[in-house]
Symmetry: C2
Subunit: 331 residues, 2 copies
DNA sequence: GACATCTCAGGGAGCGCTCCCGCAAACTCT
DNA sequence: AGAGTTTGCGGGAGCGCTCCCTGAGATGTC
């Protein structure tokens, strides 16, 4: 038993396919009585348009790919960024009547699939999330001619609009705050350097310190809790006299807190800690974490809106959202 | 300028559309030399099949909806379950060549959209995540006749296979552990009671306590950190002499730790705390959290595999995955 | 060698929809 | 009142693919 088609509805309502199509698509040029007739037939038959047939002729799919770089190695992690960004973007897209196709660009294989998928015009547009600089996917997608937007400034120079938060300004606020608090040996745990957010935050840290004639103390993490712990241990070994640490995200700050606790350092008395992002967990650490609030959900929503605008033919310029320091008890 | 079609490839290769179709779909009944000829034309033209045209005739879409209940009220939260489950399921589906369409079933409007979307056969199958008992969506989806699976046993009686973890066994282990540690007044912070996981965990808590002749001390949360803090404050007020608390998930346990800290109770000396799930954050609390390890990612992957099996026509039975207590320093 | 069987390529219908075109009826205007 | 314009509906081509059917040539059988 097959689902009812436009033709079936037309026959039942005693009108033509064209009229049913017009009614279903909400065109105003249909007489009210005919419209009612058609709607009754639609409801009686439980008619739902076939999206494949529709998009075959319209060349639209009304769906948007959200492509997230996802490390294929290791376990799935509970990255709060993923949840916040994907949800916020999804809400925005769904409100605009667009379907969200989620793709994880972890392996080379997955990236190839994503490329093919977009090339096949399975989606009308693509939103890229947390791409690494070395990733060839963004450039490959630009070549398909599909509208694109990046959540976060792309690390490599690819021509596409993006939305980011003020990484430089936010970091500068954090470091100045530590300096004003009398901290003299301020270390940082930075993120993976092939990502623009990590680069920008590290750059701003260095910039502010060099302005005041202080030297940088850097350990490299990868934005995970575990890497924060490791990096902190490394820092304590490198410079046991450090009195503050700026972690490039909260997850690493949480990891650093653990390392400090195990090393017997008191926070903030011995070492001040400041994170970045202000995820919900930052409120629940002991002591509660000072951090730079980045509007992650807003950034994702703004990226989504930018892309929707692009789809309507509006121009798109990069957007930088403001950040602000939230001082709690860890600094 | 339009994308190349099957016809274009056929003309270029000097064969028929049918042959190109066979080659593209990997059918073995094509002579090797013809196959090479076709593949060369495909590559030269950059041909990618049009998925809409294909699914119009095959009545398959090769995509699967993952529908997650998402509270429309309030901010987007950084629920680690969302990240873990969605990623694990996506990986499984993508490995099987299926696209994942993510839908958030927050508002009634979104639920209606999801229903229509599935009714339109925009997807071949549906995976439901963390549905509430009162939600009419699961039953509505069953009515569409699309293959379904639920991540977590559905709270209401709807006929669909599901994968869950051993909520009862896991909770029982946790409570017995607290009893064996000499705890006498064991409270619980349970989840929203319209969810089966919350029901099962609360039921097992009550069961074990009543076996030993002890009374229940219950506060209700909603699986968020904030609700854990509130519930813990309530519990301390109701029974200041309590010496242990079992939180129905780690997020609420983390919230409870905060309330205990603010109330000046030492963990585990004054109050032992045990959570549920063993999310990564449980390792980073102070003290590290004892918890019941539920294989969340595995559960999601198993749900996905069950659904893929269903799609291949295999039968599907509910699955319950084992859990195990992980004792750390909070108990 | 005659006939049946098998293999593999091509022809073409048809999936369900949109949208252009044409036509008839209803207006408007001088 | 007649010609021109507008409005609303139906007819039908065509989107790009799959898959059934047909038939030519290769292979097998006695």
């Amino acid at each position: 038993m097959r689902r009812p088609t436009l033709d079936a509805v037309a026959t039942r309502a005693g009108v033509s396919k064209s009229t049913v199509s017009r009614v279903v698509n909400g065109e105003p040029t249909v007489a009210a009585d005919l419209r009612d007739l058609v709607m009754r037939a639609v409801n009686e038959l439980g008619y739902v348009p076939n999206p494949a047939a529709r998009s075959l002729v319209t060349r639209r799919t009304d769906s948007i790919a959200v492509i997230v770089s996802d490390p294929s190695t290791g376990l799935v992690s509970d990255d709060p960024m993923f949840s916040t960004v994907v949800r916020a973007a999804s809400r925005e897209f769904e409100a605009a009547g667009k379907q969200v196709v989620l793709m994880l660009a972890g392996s080379d294989d997955a990236r190839l699939r994503a490329r093919q998928f977009v090339a096949a015009r399975h989606v009308d547009a693509v939103m890229l999330v947390s791409m690494h600089g070395a990733d060839p996917l963004p450039a490959a997608l630009v070549a398909t001619g599909v509208p694109l937007v990046s959540h976060g400034r792309p690390a490599s120079r690819v021509p596409m609009p993006w939305v980011d938060n003020d990484n430089v300004g936010g970091t500068a606020q954090a470091i100045r705050h530590l300096l004003e608090g009398g901290r003299r040996r301020i270390a940082t745990i930075c993120g993976p350097l092939d990502m623009s957010a990590a680069q920008d935050r590290l750059g701003a840290y260095r910039e502010v310190l060099s302005e005041t004639g202080r030297r940088s103390i850097v350990a490299i993490g990868d934005f995970t809790r575990a890497s924060g712990t490791e990096a902190m241990e490394q820092l304590l070994e490198d410079d046991p006299a450090l009195d503050a640490v700026f972690a490039a995200n909260d997850l690493m700050a949480i990891g650093a807190l653990r390392a400090l606790r195990r090393a017997g350092r008191r926070v903030p008395d011995d070492v001040a800690v400041v994170g970045y992002d202000d995820i919900e967990a930052a409120l629940y650490t002991d002591p509660p974490l000072s951090t730079v609030r980045s509007p992650m959900g807003e950034q994702a929503a703004a990226s989504a809106r930018l892309l929707l605008g692009l789809l309507r033919g509006e121009p798109a310029e990069p957007v930088v959202l403001p950040t602000r320091l939230v001082v709690r008890e860890s600094s």
